[in-house]
Symmetry: C2
Subunit: 118 residues, 2 copies
Protein backbone atom coordinates (compact mmCIF):
# COMPACT_ATOMS: atom_id res chain seq x y z
CA UNK A 1 0.00 0.00 0.00
CA UNK A 2 2.85 2.40 0.95
CA UNK A 3 5.78 0.26 -0.20
CA UNK A 4 5.28 0.79 -3.89
CA UNK A 5 5.03 4.62 -3.79
CA UNK A 6 8.05 4.71 -1.44
CA UNK A 7 10.02 2.54 -3.84
CA UNK A 8 8.97 4.75 -6.73
CA UNK A 9 10.48 7.79 -5.01
CA UNK A 10 13.69 6.16 -3.75
CA UNK A 11 14.56 4.23 -6.91
CA UNK A 12 13.89 7.15 -9.25
CA UNK A 13 16.12 9.72 -7.63
CA UNK A 14 19.89 9.77 -8.10
CA UNK A 15 21.46 8.99 -4.73
CA UNK A 16 18.19 7.76 -3.19
CA UNK A 17 18.83 5.40 -0.28
CA UNK A 18 15.62 4.91 1.68
CA UNK A 19 12.09 6.18 2.20
CA UNK A 20 9.73 6.11 5.14
CA UNK A 21 6.18 6.93 6.18
CA UNK A 22 6.09 7.58 9.93
CA UNK A 23 3.84 9.03 12.60
CA UNK A 24 4.99 12.10 14.52
CA UNK A 25 5.06 9.77 17.51
CA UNK A 26 8.05 7.98 15.90
CA UNK A 27 6.16 4.83 14.93
CA UNK A 28 6.86 3.75 11.34
CA UNK A 29 4.01 2.86 9.00
CA UNK A 30 6.17 1.59 6.15
CA UNK A 31 9.74 1.87 4.94
CA UNK A 32 11.73 0.94 1.89
CA UNK A 33 15.51 0.69 1.50
CA UNK A 34 17.09 0.51 -1.93
CA UNK A 35 18.87 -2.69 -2.85
CA UNK A 36 22.54 -2.68 -1.93
CA UNK A 37 22.08 -0.23 0.93
CA UNK A 38 22.01 -0.93 4.62
CA UNK A 39 20.29 1.94 6.33
CA UNK A 40 18.16 1.89 9.42
CA UNK A 41 15.75 4.51 8.12
CA UNK A 42 13.36 3.85 11.02
CA UNK A 43 15.99 4.97 13.54
CA UNK A 44 16.73 8.05 11.43
CA UNK A 45 13.01 8.83 11.28
CA UNK A 46 12.60 8.38 15.02
CA UNK A 47 15.39 10.87 15.74
CA UNK A 48 13.81 13.41 13.40
CA UNK A 49 10.20 12.87 14.46
CA UNK A 50 11.05 14.55 17.75
CA UNK A 51 12.75 17.44 15.95
CA UNK A 52 9.81 17.81 13.57
CA UNK A 53 7.50 18.17 16.55
CA UNK A 54 9.77 20.96 17.85
CA UNK A 55 9.76 22.62 14.41
CA UNK A 56 5.96 22.55 14.37
CA UNK A 57 5.85 24.12 17.83
CA UNK A 58 8.27 26.87 16.71
CA UNK A 59 6.17 27.54 13.59
CA UNK A 60 3.10 27.88 15.78
CA UNK A 61 4.83 30.33 18.13
CA UNK A 62 6.09 32.35 15.15
CA UNK A 63 2.68 32.23 13.47
CA UNK A 64 4.10 31.21 10.07
CA UNK A 65 1.42 28.64 9.24
CA UNK A 66 1.80 24.89 9.11
CA UNK A 67 5.15 23.24 8.35
CA UNK A 68 5.25 21.58 4.95
CA UNK A 69 8.82 20.50 4.35
CA UNK A 70 12.07 20.19 6.26
CA UNK A 71 15.45 19.23 4.84
CA UNK A 72 18.66 18.50 6.65
CA UNK A 73 22.01 18.17 4.96
CA UNK A 74 24.77 16.52 6.94
CA UNK A 75 28.22 15.53 5.69
CA UNK A 76 27.20 11.94 5.03
CA UNK A 77 23.41 12.12 4.60
CA UNK A 78 20.70 14.29 3.15
CA UNK A 79 17.20 13.95 4.62
CA UNK A 80 14.09 15.47 3.08
CA UNK A 81 10.88 15.38 5.10
CA UNK A 82 7.41 16.21 3.84
CA UNK A 83 4.48 16.56 6.21
CA UNK A 84 1.58 14.43 4.95
CA UNK A 85 -0.99 15.17 7.65
CA UNK A 86 -1.07 16.41 11.24
CA UNK A 87 -0.15 12.84 12.26
CA UNK A 88 2.19 11.55 9.56
CA UNK A 89 5.25 12.48 7.52
CA UNK A 90 7.19 11.14 4.58
CA UNK A 91 11.00 11.03 4.76
CA UNK A 92 13.57 10.43 2.04
CA UNK A 93 17.24 9.69 2.71
CA UNK A 94 19.72 10.55 -0.03
CA UNK A 95 23.48 10.48 -0.35
CA UNK A 96 24.86 14.03 0.13
CA UNK A 97 25.47 14.32 -3.65
CA UNK A 98 21.98 13.00 -4.38
CA UNK A 99 19.49 14.91 -6.51
CA UNK A 100 17.75 16.98 -3.85
CA UNK A 101 15.48 18.81 -6.30
CA UNK A 102 14.23 15.64 -7.94
CA UNK A 103 13.70 14.00 -4.56
CA UNK A 104 11.52 16.91 -3.40
CA UNK A 105 9.63 16.85 -6.69
CA UNK A 106 8.88 13.12 -6.50
CA UNK A 107 7.77 13.44 -2.88
CA UNK A 108 5.37 16.21 -3.85
CA UNK A 109 3.97 14.16 -6.74
CA UNK A 110 3.55 10.96 -4.71
CA UNK A 111 2.24 12.62 -1.51
CA UNK A 112 -1.45 12.71 -2.52
CA UNK A 113 -1.45 8.93 -3.06
CA UNK A 114 -0.01 8.39 0.41
CA UNK A 115 -2.34 10.95 1.97
CA UNK A 116 -5.35 9.18 0.47
CA UNK A 117 -4.42 6.05 2.45
CA UNK A 118 -3.72 7.71 5.80
Amino acid sequence: MFKEPLQKIVDNVEGGIAGLVMGFDGIAVESYTREGHKMDITTVGMEFSFILTQVRKAAEILDVGSVQEVSIKAEKLLIVIRVLSPEYFLALALSPEGNFGKGRYLMRVVAPRLQAEL
Copy 2:
Protein backbone atom coordinates in the same frame (compact mmCIF):
# COMPACT_ATOMS: atom_id res chain seq x y z
CA MET B 1 31.29 43.76 8.94
CA PHE B 2 28.40 41.29 8.65
CA LYS B 3 25.68 43.69 7.53
CA GLU B 4 26.93 44.12 3.98
CA PRO B 5 27.25 40.38 3.15
CA LEU B 6 23.82 39.77 4.75
CA GLN B 7 22.32 42.53 2.63
CA LYS B 8 23.99 41.08 -0.46
CA ILE B 9 22.24 37.75 0.11
CA VAL B 10 18.80 39.10 1.06
CA ASP B 11 18.54 41.79 -1.61
CA ASN B 12 19.74 39.55 -4.43
CA VAL B 13 17.28 36.72 -3.99
CA GLU B 14 13.70 36.87 -5.21
CA GLY B 15 11.47 36.82 -2.14
CA GLY B 16 14.33 37.54 0.28
CA ILE B 17 13.05 39.09 3.52
CA ALA B 18 15.79 38.99 6.15
CA GLY B 19 19.18 37.54 7.03
CA LEU B 20 20.89 36.80 10.30
CA VAL B 21 24.17 35.65 11.79
CA MET B 22 23.54 34.07 15.18
CA GLY B 23 25.25 31.93 17.79
CA PHE B 24 23.82 28.51 18.60
CA ASP B 25 23.09 30.00 22.02
CA GLY B 26 20.45 32.22 20.35
CA ILE B 27 22.39 35.45 20.60
CA ALA B 28 22.38 37.42 17.34
CA VAL B 29 25.63 38.81 15.93
CA GLU B 30 24.05 40.81 13.11
CA SER B 31 20.81 40.93 11.17
CA TYR B 32 19.44 42.66 8.10
CA THR B 33 15.82 43.10 7.05
CA ARG B 34 14.95 44.17 3.53
CA GLU B 35 13.31 47.57 3.11
CA GLY B 36 9.54 47.43 3.26
CA HIS B 37 9.46 44.31 5.44
CA LYS B 38 8.77 44.05 9.12
CA MET B 39 10.21 40.80 10.37
CA ASP B 40 11.67 40.02 13.73
CA ILE B 41 14.35 37.73 12.31
CA THR B 42 16.09 37.58 15.70
CA THR B 43 13.05 35.93 17.27
CA VAL B 44 12.82 33.51 14.35
CA GLY B 45 16.51 32.69 14.76
CA MET B 46 16.16 32.16 18.50
CA GLU B 47 13.35 29.66 17.98
CA PHE B 48 15.42 27.74 15.45
CA SER B 49 18.75 27.89 17.31
CA PHE B 50 17.30 25.45 19.83
CA ILE B 51 16.07 23.17 17.05
CA LEU B 52 19.43 23.33 15.28
CA THR B 53 21.11 22.17 18.46
CA GLN B 54 18.69 19.20 18.54
CA VAL B 55 19.45 18.47 14.87
CA ARG B 56 23.17 18.44 15.61
CA LYS B 57 22.64 16.04 18.50
CA ALA B 58 20.55 13.73 16.27
CA ALA B 59 23.25 13.82 13.56
CA GLU B 60 25.83 12.85 16.15
CA ILE B 61 23.73 9.94 17.42
CA LEU B 62 23.14 8.77 13.82
CA ASP B 63 26.83 9.25 12.95
CA VAL B 64 26.08 11.12 9.72
CA GLY B 65 28.80 13.77 10.12
CA SER B 66 28.35 17.43 10.87
CA VAL B 67 25.19 19.29 9.89
CA GLN B 68 25.74 21.77 7.08
CA GLU B 69 22.33 23.05 6.07
CA VAL B 70 18.75 22.95 7.31
CA SER B 71 15.71 24.32 5.54
CA ILE B 72 12.17 24.67 6.81
CA LYS B 73 9.23 25.50 4.61
CA ALA B 74 6.07 26.67 6.35
CA GLU B 75 2.92 28.02 4.72
CA LYS B 76 3.97 31.64 5.23
CA LEU B 77 7.75 31.48 5.52
CA LEU B 78 10.77 29.66 4.14
CA ILE B 79 13.88 29.54 6.33
CA VAL B 80 17.29 28.37 5.11
CA ILE B 81 20.02 27.87 7.68
CA ARG B 82 23.69 27.28 6.96
CA VAL B 83 26.09 26.28 9.71
CA LEU B 84 29.13 28.59 9.65
CA SER B 85 31.12 27.12 12.51
CA PRO B 86 30.52 25.01 15.63
CA GLU B 87 29.32 28.24 17.31
CA TYR B 88 27.53 30.24 14.61
CA PHE B 89 24.98 29.91 11.85
CA LEU B 90 23.62 32.01 9.00
CA ALA B 91 19.85 32.16 8.43
CA LEU B 92 17.86 33.49 5.49
CA ALA B 93 14.12 34.14 5.58
CA LEU B 94 12.25 34.07 2.27
CA SER B 95 8.64 34.31 1.23
CA PRO B 96 7.30 30.80 0.49
CA GLU B 97 7.47 31.52 -3.26
CA GLY B 98 11.00 32.88 -2.93
CA ASN B 99 13.91 31.49 -4.91
CA PHE B 100 15.12 28.76 -2.58
CA GLY B 101 17.88 27.55 -4.92
CA LYS B 102 19.36 31.00 -5.40
CA GLY B 103 19.16 31.71 -1.68
CA ARG B 104 21.13 28.56 -0.89
CA TYR B 105 23.62 29.39 -3.60
CA LEU B 106 24.24 32.93 -2.33
CA MET B 107 24.60 31.67 1.24
CA ARG B 108 27.22 29.18 0.11
CA VAL B 109 29.11 31.86 -1.82
CA VAL B 110 29.04 34.44 0.98
CA ALA B 111 29.70 31.99 3.87
CA PRO B 112 33.54 32.06 3.63
CA ARG B 113 33.54 35.86 4.07
CA LEU B 114 31.42 35.53 7.20
CA GLN B 115 33.46 32.60 8.50
CA ALA B 116 36.67 34.60 8.11
CA GLU B 117 35.27 37.16 10.59
CA LEU B 118 33.97 34.71 13.19
